[in-house]
């Protein structure tokens, strides 16, 4: 322990550079982990955190809500499926808007219209509110929190052009769609909003049908029954609808590849560093062995340095990452991912220690007799 710390204090630049490299890598990994989760939540939070267990798209929509159109014929097909409990319409559009919180600046707002039901919690409503209440009538909305354009109860959103006004009566976390501020309104409010910005628009058709299975029927069974009914219908469970939204899988695959590469760089850098340092200390280590220092003490000293270096890098990297999770990134809400910090800390420590075993093997191979010949571990 004493040797390990003494050496580190005497070669601050050398060990400092290693800690800096590891810290930057840890920062990049954690930042990108939050970015990935923030992007996916921003993309499909509205799907994942609404209360309908099944969403029915038209095949033409390619699993994009705004791309899907449910014609009257398709709607009739859905309503006629055995095993269907309740069903409702869901419409979606993207609008230019201003809100009382955006200080007059325009924002891109996504509006989802669902059939409110008696209590505002009809199929398609946000699963949970963090403040306020569900809409009870026209021109009321549940707004999304998070990002630069988080809504608050009492805000008024004005659509442009046309000046159509919607009041925020409740807010919910993680209900964004397309990484934009999102409003859940009644189906008729959505329909009026569409026509308010485009006087040429015909009667909007629902984009998606939201459904719940009858008692004794599972969501998976209902999905199968609907898909068997028509080749033009594409029913998905809520989780599948979120994960199979175009772009989500690509985002995950891209980040997994990036994480793999970063995860390889950290142990390589650590292993290389300690191997070179061990080679440089060859003569001193041989001498220490010759005067009676046990090999396990030298290996322990090496491992202590590895753990301290990686630990230092993890602490600094996490400290660099934390402020980003407070400020966010534009419209994206980045969260401090405690699970990710723990996962990567354990993984990188394990890989780092494993990579230093090459250097440890060199230390164990030292023959004290070499002190009289000068061969050392470098031989």
């Amino acid at each position: 322990m004493f040797l390990a710390l003494k050496e580190m204090s005497r070669a601050k630049t050398r060990f400092g550079l290693l800690v800096a490299a590891i810290a930057l890598l840890v920062f990049l990994i954690l930042f990108q982990q939050s970015l990935q989760n923030g992007l996916i939540t921003g993309f499909v939070g509205a799907i994942r955190n609404q209360n309908a267990p099944v969403l029915v798209y038209s095949v033409d929509g390619q699993r994009v809500i705004q791309g899907s159109i449910i014609t009257p014929d398709l709607e009739a097909e859905v309503r006629d499926v055995d095993g269907l409990g309740t069903v409702g319409r869901l419409g979606q559009g993207t609008f230019t808007a201003t809100s009382t919180t955006s200080s007059g600046d325009s924002l891109d707002a996504t509006i989802l219209g669902y059939e409110l039901g008696d209590d505002g919690q009809g199929l398609g409503a946000p699963s949970e509110l963090v403040d306020g209440r569900y809409p009870s009538g026209e021109l009321e909305a549940v707004g999304s929190t998070g990002g630069d354009d988080a809504f608050a109860v009492g805000d008024t959103v004005v659509l442009q052009p046309g000046g159509f006004e919607i009041e925020i009566v409740g807010v919910a976390d993680d209900i964004q769609l397309n990484v934009s501020p999102t409003l859940f309104v009644s189906y008729s409010t959505w329909s009026d909003a569409v026509q308010s910005v485009n006087p040429d628009a015909g009667e909007p058709l629902p984009n998606v049908m939201v459904a719940a299975p009858a008692e004794g029927v599972t969501a998976d069974q209902l999905v199968t029954d609907i898909n068997d009914r028509s080749l033009d219908l594409d029913a998905l469970t809520r989780d599948d609808a979120a994960s199979e939204t175009p772009g989500v899988a690509q985002v995950q695959q891209s980040f997994q590849l990036i994480f793999l590469l970063y995860g390889l760089v950290v142990p390589c850098v650590t292993g290389l560093f300690f191997l070179i340092v061990t080679l440089q200390k060859a003569d001193a280590l041989t001498l220490l062995r010759a005067i009676g220092a046990p090999a396990k003490r030298l290996v322990a000293s090496l491992l202590i340095q590895v753990v301290l270096m990686i630990g230092g890098g993890l602490v600094i990297g996490t400290a660099l990452y934390f402020p980003l999770t407070v400020t966010g990134l534009g419209g994206l809400e980045l969260r401090f991912e405690t699970g990710a910090v723990l996962f990567w800390s354990i993984l990188l420590l394990t890989l780092g220690v494993a990579s230093s075993l090459v250097a440890a093997r060199r230390v164990l191979r030292i023959d004290p007799i070499e002190a009289t010949t000068g061969a050392g571990v470098g031989a």
């Binding site: 630049t13 050398r14 550079l17 290693l18 490299a21 930057l24 920062f27 990049l28 930042f31 990108q32 970015l35 095949v59 033409d60 929509g61 390619q62 791309g67 159109i69 398709l74 559009g93 993207t94 230019t96 325009s106 891109d108 442009q160 052009p161 934009s180 569409v194 026509q195 910005v197 485009n198 040429d200 628009a201 015909g202 009667e203 909007p204 058709l205 080749l231 033009d232 175009p246 772009g247 690509q250 695959q253 891209s254 590849l257 990036i258 590469l261 970063y262 390889l264 760089v265 390589c268 850098v269 292993g271 290389l272 560093f273 191997l275 070179i276 080679l279 440089q280 990134l329 419209g331």
Partner: protein, 362 residues
């Protein structure tokens, strides 16, 4: 310098680990760069292809085609702006297309454009019911001479040829006449249909600034240069900013790794450098040797990484990770890495300068 190259040739093992690490970092840089290029290319091709001096949206559209409406009177105002030579309407509808031979649920994502002024690489508007398809749609089985059915209304469109790099929002471009676009829009997206004469955007050619157009329309329009319109597409500048930050920090990591590696190598050879200096070698010669080694190691790493990224591009199935590997992005990543290598290596300069020739005699 000869000594440095000789060492690299005779003791390649000494540099192997650093080369592997740099190769990994180079793969990361090139992959990130290609991913950014792929994302941007698939989102912006249709705008980049416009042969225009300005692209005009309505004021509240936020540069979104779907939210933009240009009425005929606004178009007249734009046409009368000094310096404007030509004005053409442009509109798009994004839908799924049924391709003959594909399964009933296996649709191609298309962005069908109606246009009056032909973009670069796209012929003049075809006859009604026909379209030029972007070649990315070949991966979905689209062929010349084929009739594809668009949207839930199954609007038939004959593919009469292919164009390249005209995708929009990740969907393959289809370039059709005004009438084809209007009928496809009205049949499939009644909520988005537009009256005759109303366009989503205008393409303007001439000696004119976008600001002059907006002034002439009393702020009813929001005009951009082509580059401005590309950057104004929702998400594009955010993607570029985020990726560039990640690439920047990755280069910083490369710089630190190279600095660390050559600092360690320098420490290892202090005695040897003392002897070389005692024999008359200058500090600049010794440091030059280190630089040569750093450059050679980086070039090898960049070359291997370039080959790996090209291989990755071949192996990754179309439609999964949207990467666009180009020589330009590989060369620019290699150049950045070389710069990092030179800067990182210069951390060792101080140590080389401090070597005392007298140390050679103990």
């Amino acid at each position: 310098m000869k000594l440095a190259l000789k060492e690299l040739r005779r003791r390649p093992g000494r540099f192997a680990t650093a080369t592997v690490i740099l190769t990994l970092i180079a793969v990361l840089l090139m992959f990130l760069g290609s991913l950014l290029d792929g994302l941007i290319a698939s989102s912006t091709g249709a705008i980049r292809a416009q042969d225009a001096d300005a692209i005009v949206y309505s004021a509240s559209a936020q540069a979104s085609f779907q939210r933009s409406r240009i009425e005929p009177d606004i178009r007249s105002a734009v046409e009368s702006v000094d310096g404007v030579d030509e004005v053409g309407g442009l509109g798009v509808v994004q839908l799924g297309a049924r391709v003959p031979g594909n399964g009933p649920r296996d649709l191609a994502n298309v962005a069908l454009f109606g246009y009056e002024l032909a973009p670069d690489g796209v012929p003049e508007p075809p006859a009604d019911g026909e379209a030029y398809a972007d070649e990315v749609l070949k991966a979905d089985g689209v062929e010349e001479g084929m009739t594809i059915e668009i949207g839930p209304a199954r609007t038939p469109v004959d593919v009469i040829g292919f164009v390249s790099d005209t995708s929009f929002n990740g969907q393959g471009g289809l370039w059709a006449s005004e009438a084809t676009w209007r009928s496809t829009l009205a049949e499939n997206r009644p909520d988005a249909q537009l009256a005759d004469g109303v366009w989503q955007a205008l393409v303007v050619r001439g000696d004119v600034e976008p600001g002059a157009i907006d002034s002439a329309t009393d702020g009813a329009t929001d005009s951009y240069t082509v580059d401005g319109a590309v950057n104004a597409i929702p998400g594009v500048s955010e993607q570029q900013g985020t990726f560039n930050q990640i690439i920047g920090v990755t280069i910083a990591v490369a710089l630190v790794v190279i600095g660390l590696f050559f600092a360690l190598i320098t420490v290892e050879r202090v005695g040897l450098y003392g002897v070389l200096k005692a024999l008359g070698a200058k500090s600049s010669t010794i440091f030059g040797g280190l630089l040569v080694q750093a450059v050679v190691v980086t070039l090898i790493a960049a070359s291997v990484a370039g080959a790996l990224v090209v291989l990755l591009d071949v192996v990754i199935p179309p439609g999964s990770i949207p990467i666009a590997v180009s020589i330009g992005s590989i060369v620019s990543s290699a150049a950045l890495l070389l710069l990092a290598a030179v800067i990182g290596c210069s951390f060792s300069l101080r140590r080389v300068l401090k070597v005392d020739p007298a140390s050679a005699i103990g």
